[in-house]
């Protein structure tokens, strides 16, 4: 009897542990399309939400059913929960452990695949430096062009932000791209996103940074590649005009219109 349980459990374990590994492998193969972390995030999020909804509803129905069945009424003045044999007492530990563990590992495997998507930056990226401060987002392009609270990027090119902060913690959060990462003094952190279509996306601060934290907003403007090139030309010219004659430090960033109030 005990032996049978033990053997059964071992078989179950092998099966359940293998499943997530297989699932993770299957996810990794379908690579060639453009990598879009936001789309993959939606996919996994929906999957997990559907799973926990099913588990939750099942649990809730069973519990509600038990409660209703067990209401106190004539003839049912004292509970009669079955006395467990040692084997079933152990079974009630081992089997749930394997069920939970398999769900955990399955979720972990999928989560890890998505994690790699969020952390492996494609090679054809646009590198932007970001310095956050109370209360603005200051972007610097590879060619030295700088903008504040508005980042203009070409559609179809992955963008990576190398981030730091000049004062407190901030978190550059782009809800539309499902991504954020804190920035802080003394370290460089990064995040990347893939703007596929022209459009505008809100940037908002997601780490308490001070009194005006709630107002620390900006936006990402995605332009068609040719429009972006034209915009960049203009920026380069005005940058050259600002730096060339007097050789003053190029602090004259073009302030962008934005919802953020400055204090």
């Amino acid at each position: 009897m005990h032996d049978k349980i033990r053997r059964g459990a071992a078989g179950l374990a092998a099966l359940l542990l293998a499943a997530p590994v297989w699932a993770a492998g299957a996810g990794a193969k379908s690579e060639p399309k453009t990598v879009d972390p936001a789309r993959d995030w939606d996919h996994l999020w929906n999957e997990v939400i559907v799973d926990i909804t099913i588990i939750g509803i099942l649990f809730a129905i069973v519990t509600a059913w038990f409660i209703w069945q067990a209401r106190r009424r004539p003839g049912n003045e004292v509970g009669a929960s079955p006395k467990l044999s040692p084997a079933s007492a152990v079974g009630w530990v081992v089997i749930p452990i394997f069920v939970f563990l398999s769900i955990d590992l399955y979720t972990a495997a999928n989560g890890w695949v998505l994690w790699n998507t969020f952390r492996d930056v494609p090679a054809n990226r646009l590198e932007i430096k970001l310095e956050a401060g109370m209360y603005s987002w200051d972007y610097t392009y590879p060619n030295g062009v700088r903008t504040q609270n508005e980042l203009v990027v070409p559609a179809g090119t992955p963008v990576v932000l190398r981030m730091t902060s000049r004062d407190t913690l901030h978190s550059h959060y782009i809800p539309d791209f499902r991504v954020k990462e804190d920035s802080m003094p003394g370290r460089i952190t990064y995040l990347w996103f893939n703007p596929t279509k022209p459009g505008e996306h809100l940037v908002t601060c997601a780490e308490y940074c001070g009194v005006m934290h709630g107002y620390m907003a900006g936006r990402i403007v995605v332009k068609a590649p040719e429009e972006y090139a034209a915009w960049m030309k203009g920026e380069e010219t005005s940058l050259a005009a600002a730096t060339a004659p007097a050789a003053v430090p190029a602090t004259a960033t073009k302030p962008a219109k934005t919802a953020a109030k400055k204090t």
């Binding site: 067990a70 998505l114 994690w115 913690l169 908002t204 997601a206 934290h213």
Partner: protein, 523 residues
Amino acid sequence: MNLKEWIFTTDHKRVGVLYLIGSIAAFAVAGIMALLMRAELSTIGPTITANPSQYNVWLYTHGAVMILGFQIPALTGFFANFCIPLMIGAKDVAFPRVNALSVWLFYVGVILALLTFFIPDPPDVMWTGYPPYSTITTGNTAMYSFTVLILGFASIIGGVNFLTTVAYMRAPGLTLNKLNIFVWCTLAAFVLQLIFVPVLGTAVSLISMDKYLGTNFFDPTKGGDVLTYQNLFWFYSHPAVYVIFLPFIGVVYEIISVHARNAVFNYKMVVYGGVGGIVLLAGEVWVHHLYVSGMADWLRIGQMVTTLMISIPVGLMMIGLIGTLYKGSIEFNTPMLYGLGVVFLFLIGGLTGIPLAVPSLTIGVSDTYYVVGHFHYVMAVAGTFAIFGGVYHWFPKMTGKMYNEFWGKLGFWLTFVGVNIVFWIMMDVGVKGMPRRYYDYAHFPQFESAHQWMTVGAGILAIGFALAVLNWIFGAINGKPAGDNPWNSPSLEWSTVSPPPHGNWPSPPSVSEDWHPYGYKKG
């Protein structure tokens, strides 16, 4: 009744009641802060204050006082003090004077926290106190550090006391396998407190040293490191979640077993698998609070696995609860409604935590209202329901009198409906992008009506909680006599008179071979 006798008491039950009064007062204050925040957020732009700092101070007070002044003291102060010696058949705790010291320190801590409203630059560092902001703000960070240190110290000396008490003062015949689940849970919580509170003490001391004494532990321009604080802070504060969870689920076990008149399902599974498993895993999951903080990638992935594994002991504890309901004989009185409420609220809270264990999903929802909604379900609201249910459950023992069932049930239903309105909507706007700790949401105008519903929900639940507290006050003054054992429970605390005298039993109890705290018999 003599006030001096109460203040200088060393009787564990009176110390417990002092803890209860203090923590309910703290709950009321922190609850009013929540209502002020909800009022402020009911419209875009300034509503009841034009000063964002004011909102931040409310939020700081709400978070810090709810956790450090209400839940931890109510659970490890009130319930532990009142119930543990009675449940193990002891006359008192091992060190009654140390116990009195701990409740005094608790009052000092609460008063310090309340001084927030009277000093010119109150702390505005949130209950997490992250540097660099906490070291450069004009708000009073020292106040934050001292409040945390004093309340932490109060709780540590309580821990030493109860571990000793349960080890040495159990009634003859009361073996470890006959301890109430609540006792096991609370001991485990104290073990966690003893290990981890010193780390929190270190963290909050270092920020005040940085701010006032010119050290540079967290200032990278002078060789410090910002992230170190977050690691220290959560190294304690994640286990702190279990310091809250364990006793509150222990309370729920007592409630459900007694009012379903049913033995706890698979006792050893609950104790060794559930409580033991949580103690083992508690210290290995703190990085899930730092998934977007810039931690090393391998740590984020490693602690994703340990965090997900928390579902095992917690799941076993849920199975134990539901198994205890199975084939029970359930009476739907007020304490039981709260107990059953916890089962459903915790189910929602636990399941919505699964995506938050995964770093790649958290990258989207971290620091949004989704997180705030989740942890209110799983800890704030589930814990508060357990506390309220537990106070109702032991109310006849504490006072010898009965509360009013009608007002009790009405209060429960109002709160239950209210919390679901507030925190369900909160999770929904969070997934859609609403960040937490916002005084204003001018760039999210689409959420205004959701915020208004949350404010309505908060009003409803506040009425429910107020009804419960009033019910206790009126019940304590002129409730009907309850008798010594109104629930017909074999657990030892019900075997003495209500309220129990100093020393608890005229002569110390002993228990027989076939006695068990959950051995229900007909009649």
